[in-house]
C-alpha cells in the first residue's frame, strides 16, 4: 500500500484513477444536484446544482451568507442536507458521515484552520493516512502484531517528512500545532489533508488570514498539485485570487447558484455584479 501511496506529491491519484476508474465513471467527479439545507425557517442552500470537472481548480464565491460554507458542510457530511443529491465519482454520497466521505477520497479543510493544537505538526500529519493498521486496538497492543504497526509507522513517517518539505513547514515539525501562526496552520491543514491521499480537495477559504508570502506559497502548492492531477474546489472570499487562479467559477447568491462559468464571463455577468452591489470584480 505504502509504495503506491509512497509520496502524495509524486503519485497523482487521479492519473492512476483515470486508467482504472474510467470504465466505471467518466463524468465529473463531483456532482451536486438541487441541494437544499434549512436552518429553522432560513433557507441556507436553495436548490444549488453544480459540477466540478476532473483535474480542475474550481472556485466557489459569493457574498457573505450566500451558503458557500453550508454547501461545503453538506457535501462533506458535517451537515445533513434536507434535499438534493451529492455524487462523488458516480457514487451517491448524500447524507453520509464525514469519515465515509473522506474515505472515498473527498477531503476538506476548514474555514478557520482546525489544527489539533496539543498535537505536534508531525503528529497531525501522522494521524491522517487511511488504513493504518495500528488504529486497531489489538494490533497496537499485542506484542506480535505491533511489529507490523511499527513497520507501517516508519513508512508513514517517510511520507510525512516529504509532505512537510513540500509545504515547507518541516522546520516546524515538532512544534505544537497550536503554536503555529494562522497561515502556518492553513498550510498544516492542507498538508494533513494531502496525507489522506485524496482524489479531490475541498478547501474552505485557504487564504483567509494568510500573509501574502504564505499565500503565494499556498497557491503555488495548489497549482503543483493540480498539475499532478488532483481536483480542487476552492471557497474563497478574495475575488482576485479566484479570478486569477481558477479556470471555472461558481457564484452563489442567497443559497442558489447564480453563475457557473469562466472567470472572464463571470466578471461581466450582470446578475453577479448586481449580487455584489456593484462591487468591482
Amino acid at each position: 500500500m505504502s509504495d503506491a501511496a509512497a509520496d502524495a506529491t509524486e503519485a497523482p491519484p487521479a492519473e492512476a484513477a483515470d486508467e482504472a476508474d474510467d470504465s466505471e465513471h467518466s463524468g465529473p467527479p463531483l456532482e451536486v444536484r438541487n441541494l437544499r439545507k434549512l436552518f429553522g425557517g432560513i433557507v441556507a442552500v436553495d436548490d444549488a446544482s453544480f459540477t466540478v470537472e476532473q483535474g480542475s481548480l474550481t472556485g466557489l464565491i459569493g457574498p457573505n451568507g450566500a451558503g458557500k460554507s453550508t454547501t461545503f458542510n453538506c457535501i462533506t457530511g458535517a451537515l445533513k442536507p434536507d434535499g438534493g443529491t451529492v455524487r462523488f465519482q458516480g457514487e451517491d454520497i448524500t447524507g453520509m458521515r464525514p469519515e465515509q466521505v473522506a474515505n472515498r477520497g473527498l477531503v476538506r479543510t476548514f474555514q478557520i484552520a482546525r489544527a489539533l493544537p496539543e498535537m505536534t505538526v508531525v503528529e497531525n500529519l501522522m494521524l491522517a493516512p487511511q488504513g493504518q493498521m495500528g488504529e486497531k486496538l489489538w494490533r497496537s497492543v499485542l506484542p506480535a502484531a505491533r511489529d507490523s504497526v511499527v513497520t507501517q509507522e516508519r513508512e508513514l513517517r517517510e511520507r510525512v517528512w516529504e509532505t512537510l518539505e513540500f509545504f515547507e513547514i518541516d522546520h516546524l515539525a515538532h512544534e505544537r500545532a497550536g503554536n503555529l501562526s494562522g497561515g502556518q496552520q492553513k498550510l498544516l491543514e492542507m498538508s494533513r489533508a494531502m496525507m489522506t491521499d485524496p482524489d479531490m480537495l475541498l478547501l474552505d477559504e485557504p487564504m483567509a488570514g494568510v500573509n501574502p508570502t504564505l499565500e503565494d506559497k499556498l497557491l503555488e502548492r495548489i497549482h503543483d498539485l493540480r498539475e499532478d492531477g488532483y481536483t480542487f474546489l476552492l471557497v474563497e472570499h478574495d475575488m482576485d485570487i479566484i479570478m486569477e487562479n481558477c479556470e471555472r467559477v461558481i457564484v452563489m447568491h442567497q443559497g442558489s447558484v447564480l453563475a457557473d462559468d469562466e472567470p472572464e464571463r463571470v466578471r461581466s455577468n450582470e446578475k453577479v455584479i448586481e449580487a455584489y452591489l456593484g462591487e468591482d470584480i
Partner: protein, 450 residues
C-alpha cells in the same frame, strides 16, 4: 535501526528536550526517566510519613510497626488510586470523554465479583451472598461486566455532546449505587438468581488470595523474622496483619504495572493518536476519515473495565463492602489525583495518585494526630460557635481541638482549595506539560532505513 521505539522500551522517554526545569542536578537526573519520577515521589512520601509517625509517637521499637503501618496504608491507597486515575486518564486525558461515574463502574466490578465468587452462606441474615465460584472467574467477570456497563452508557450517550456524557455517567453511577443499596433488589435477586446483593447491610467478600501464604509454615517463618530479641525481650517489629496487607499491595502494584504498560502501548500508537485527535477536535478526526464512534466506544468500554478491576483490587479486597463505598466523592477524588498528576500523561496519573494519597488524603489526618498528641488537648467544643467563644476567651486550645476534631470535613475544604489553585496556576498538573507524541516510533526524520 537506531531509533528508540516508544511504548516498547523501558520507561524513560516521553520527556521533550525543552523541559525547562529538568536541566541539571538531582532533579535533572530524576526527570530523565519516568520510573525515577515515580520512584522518587513514592520514596519521598515514605520519608514524609516516617517523619510524621515519629513526630507523633517518638523514637522507639513500637514506632517501627506504626511507620510500616503508615507505609502500608500509603501503598495500598496509592495503587488503588493509580489504577483508577490511569483508567480515567484514558477517558478524560486521552479521549476527552468526561466520565464522572467512576464509582459506579467500580461498584459494578466489585458486586459482580462478589455475587459470583462470594460465599454462598451469609454470616448473618440479610447480608449479601454469592454463588461461591472461583475467585479468578469472579474477577474476570467483574471486569468484563463493568466494561459492558460502559457500553450500555456509551452507546446512547456518545452520540450526544461531552457534557451529556457526564450527566449520563453520573446518573448511571448513582443508579448502580442505589440498586445495590435497595433491600427489594436484594430480595429479588435472592429469589430469582440465588444470590443477594445484601442492600445496605453489605457483603462479606472472599479473602484476598494472598492471605493463604501467611497460613503456611513458610509464611509464618517469614513473619517471625520481624520478631527480634532485644535485651532479652521479644519485640514484634512488624505485625502479621501489616505484612499480609503489604503482600496484597504488591499484587495491586503488579496489576498497576500491567495496566500502565497497556495504556502506554495505547498512548504510543496510531490508535492513541486518533484518541488524542478526538479530544482535540472530533470533526477534524472524522473529516480525515476516522470513524470516531468506534474509537470512543472501545475506549469507553476499556476504561470502564479497568475501573471495575480497580474497584475489585481496592474495595473488593477489604473483607466487606457496602454501597456507601461508591459515593460520587470517590469519582471526585480520582479526578483530583488525575488533575494533580497531569491529565493526558500516564506517568502523571501515577504521580498524581501518590501525591493525592500522600499529601491530601493521609497527611492531614497524621498532622491532626500529631497536634493532638503534642498539645494534650482537652475535650473539643461541640460547635463552631463554642469554638469561636473559647478563642475569644483567649483559649487557643479549644479552637485547635475543634479544628482537629473536624479535620474530616475540613479535608473537603482543603481538597477544593487545592483543586482551585491547581486549575488556576498549573492546569497541566505535574507532568501534563510534556509532549508525549502519540506514535509507535520516534517521529524524528528517520535515517533511510532499509
Amino acid at each position: 535501526m537506531s531509533e528508540t521505539v516508544p511504548g516498547d522500551d523501558s520507561v524513560g522517554d516521553g520527556t521533550s528536550p525543552d523541559d525547562g526545569d529538568g536541566s541539571g542536578g538531582f532533579m535533572g537526573w530524576v526527570q530523565k526517566s519516568d520510573l525515577r519520577i515515580v520512584g522518587v515521589t513514592l520514596a519521598s512520601m515514605y520519608v514524609l510519613f516516617t517523619v510524621l509517625v515519629l513526630l507523633e509517637q517518638g523514637l522507639g521499637f513500637d514506632s517501627v510497626n506504626s511507620v510500616v503501618g503508615a507505609w502500608r496504608t500509603l501503598t495500598f491507597l496509592f495503587a488503588a488510586y493509580a489504577v483508577l486515575a490511569l483508567a480515567l486518564n484514558l477517558h478524560w486525558g486521552y479521549t476527552g470523554m468526561f466520565n464522572i461515574g467512576v464509582a459506579g463502574f467500580m461498584a459494578v466490578g466489585v458486586y459482580t465479583m462478589a455475587l459470583l465468587s462470594g460465599t454462598s452462606d451469609p454470616i448473618s441474615a440479610g447480608q449479601g451472598y454469592g454463588w461461591g465460584l472461583p475467585l479468578w472467574f469472579g474477577v474476570i467477570m467483574g471486569t468484563v461486566v463493568a466494561g459492558l456497563t460502559g457500553l450500555i452508557a456509551a452507546v446512547p450517550a456518545l452520540r450526544l455532546r461531552a457534557d451529556y456524557l457526564a450527566i449520563v455517567t453520573l446518573g448511571l453511577s448513582e443508579i448502580i449505587r442505589l440498586l445495590a443499596q435497595s433491600r427489594d433488589v436484594s430480595t429479588w435477586t435472592d429469589e430469582t438468581f440465588g444470590f443477594a446483593t445484601g442492600g445496605g447491610r453489605g457483603f462479606f467478600l472472599p479473602d484476598r488470595p494472598t492471605e493463604a501464604i501467611w497460613g503456611t509454615d513458610a509464611g509464618q517463618s517469614f513473619v517471625e523474622l520481624f520478631t527480634v530479641e532485644i535485651g532479652g525481650d521479644e519485640v514484634t517489629l512488624v505485625r502479621e496483619s501489616i505484612i499480609a496487607d503489604f503482600s496484597w499491595s504488591l499484587v495491586m502494584i503488579v496489576f498497576l504495572a500491567g495496566i500502565y504498560w497497556l495504556l502506554r502501548r495505547i498512548g504510543y500508537s496510531p490508535f492513541g493518536r486518533v484518541l488524542k485527535a478526538i479530544r482535540e477536535d472530533e470533526l477534524v478526526a472524522q473529516s480525515l476519515g476516522k470513524d470516531t464512534r468506534w474509537f470512543k466506544i472501545k475506549v469507553f468500554m476499556l476504561g470502564c473495565a479497568l475501573m471495575g478491576l480497580g474497584g475489585i483490587l481496592w474495595q473488593g479486597s477489604q473483607g466487606t463492602v457496602t454501597p456507601d463505598s461508591f459515593r460520587p466523592i470517590v469519582t471526585f477524588y480520582v479526578f483530583i489525583a488525575l488533575i494533580i498528576g497531569g491529565s493526558g500523561s500516564n506517568t502523571g496519573s501515577v504521580v498524581g495518585a501518590i501525591l493525592f494519597v500522600g499529601l491530601l488524603f493521609e497527611a492531614p489526618r497524621r498532622v491532626g494526630s500529631i497536634i493532638e498528641a503534642w498539645m494534650n488537648l482537652s475535650s473539643a467544643p461541640n460547635t463552631f460557635h463554642d469554638a469561636l467563644g473559647s478563642l475569644a476567651s483567649l483559649d487557643v486550645g479549644g479552637f485547635v481541638a475543634y479544628f482537629i476534631d473536624n479535620l474530616g470535613p475540613l479535608q473537603f475544604v482543603i481538597l477544593g482549595l487545592v483543586l482551585v489553585v491547581i486549575v488556576q496556576r498549573r492546569p497541566e498538573g505535574m507532568l501534563g506539560h510534556r509532549t508525549e507524541v502519540a506514535a509507535a516510533i520516534d517521529l524524528e526524520r528517520g535515517e533511510i532505513d532499509e
